[in-house]
Symmetry: C2
Subunit: 208 residues, 2 copies
């Protein structure tokens, strides 16, 4: 049936529950997921002049976010531990996502998010990323080597630029196949509802 684009940065906290939940929702509705890794650092910097996560730059928001994330994960039945570092450097994992065959991406992405947020592991470490590649049924040496190719580096850079061009300002972001954009784990169900039947919006911003 439809297609949903899932744009994600591995460091992003609320992208963890979204990544763990999206497959079941897509399978249930018979939709395909397009996995779109990108880097949030350049986006935050370019759009808001930030050099750190807004949750670190504004501690009052960070304190609330960790508590809220704990509630969200408790509701979703997901384990949550303090990450080894926040935000983590997700560059290697993002490149490996693109280096993997499409069929292996879902398992890899979930393994990396679990390493970050359920295991408290350092996802910038090649040994941790390798373990996630193995969990996805692929050969870590081959994928790691491919992740260093210029074409993969360029693809990740192009993803980040495309994200900004399309108005992405955070992670997770979802696009329905008509281009409608949804931001945040809280909007995942709405994005699937939209794929099934776009809302009739008669007010401001309404185009249909």
């Amino acid at each position: 049936m439809g297609r949903i684009e899932f744009w994600f940065e591995f460091a992003s906290t609320y992208s963890y529950p979204a990544a763990m939940r999206i497959e079941a929702l897509a399978d249930e509705a018979g939709h395909d997921i397009v996995w779109k890794p990108f880097l949030l650092g350049p986006v935050f910097n370019s759009q808001q002049g930030l050099t750190d996560s807004p949750f670190n730059a504004f501690p009052v928001k960070g304190r609330y976010m960790w508590r809220d994330l704990a509630r969200v994960c408790a509701r979703a039945g997901l384990p949550l531990e303090t990450p080894a570092r926040f935000p983590q450097n997700g560059l290697l994992a993002a490149r490996c996502t693109l280096a993997l065959p499409e069929a292996a991406r879902a398992a890899f992405v979930k393994a990396v998010y679990a390493a970050n947020f359920a295991d408290g592991a350092l996802i910038s470490e090649p040994a941790i990323v390798s373990r996630c590649i193995v969990a996805a049924g692929e050969n870590p040496d081959a994928i790691m080597a491919r992740a260093g190719d210029e074409t993969i580096k360029a693809e990740l850079k192009a993803n980040t630029e495309e994200a900004m061009r399309r108005g992405v300002f955070g992670s997770p972001t979802f696009f329905a196949d008509d281009g409608e954009m949804f931001w945040g784990n809280d909007r995942l169900e709405d994005a699937f509802d939209w794929l099934a039947a776009p809302l009739q919006i008669m007010s401001i911003g309404g185009t249909r």
Copy 2:
């Protein structure tokens, strides 16, 4: 049964659907609402150094917000029009909320949000605020006069300071009677669920 504190700034976009929805949810569950107007300007300025709404300061977030708000309002069956100005100055309306008897506050607050977001009226105008006081069944001259009292001005100032002390960084914010904080229209149902039965949180941030 329980009590939910509803902290709100009249300029805030997502506080509009929250204000229009909260009474039905509270009534259904048999909970009381404590109406807590405060000013978001000093909060944004003190915590994030902002001198305007973040939706204006960062246009990419603003563009998404207006579209998302249109979807949220469409789902909730609420009309939405372009406000006369964004953000509006809600000082007079906030003071009038505190000048009103508690029983009249719900109707007044909803009338002001509707004036701002459904009618596109200027809620800084005394004539508009007076109309909202009438809608709440009270005498506008008496309430307007009371809104200028030093005690009312001091109460609004104290609300804003209390909000910051308790970690509020946006509107709408809800507190359950055990102090659990919820931010955003998206968390309104969660706040009521929490009042009925707090989640068991075993992960980070867990205190129970």
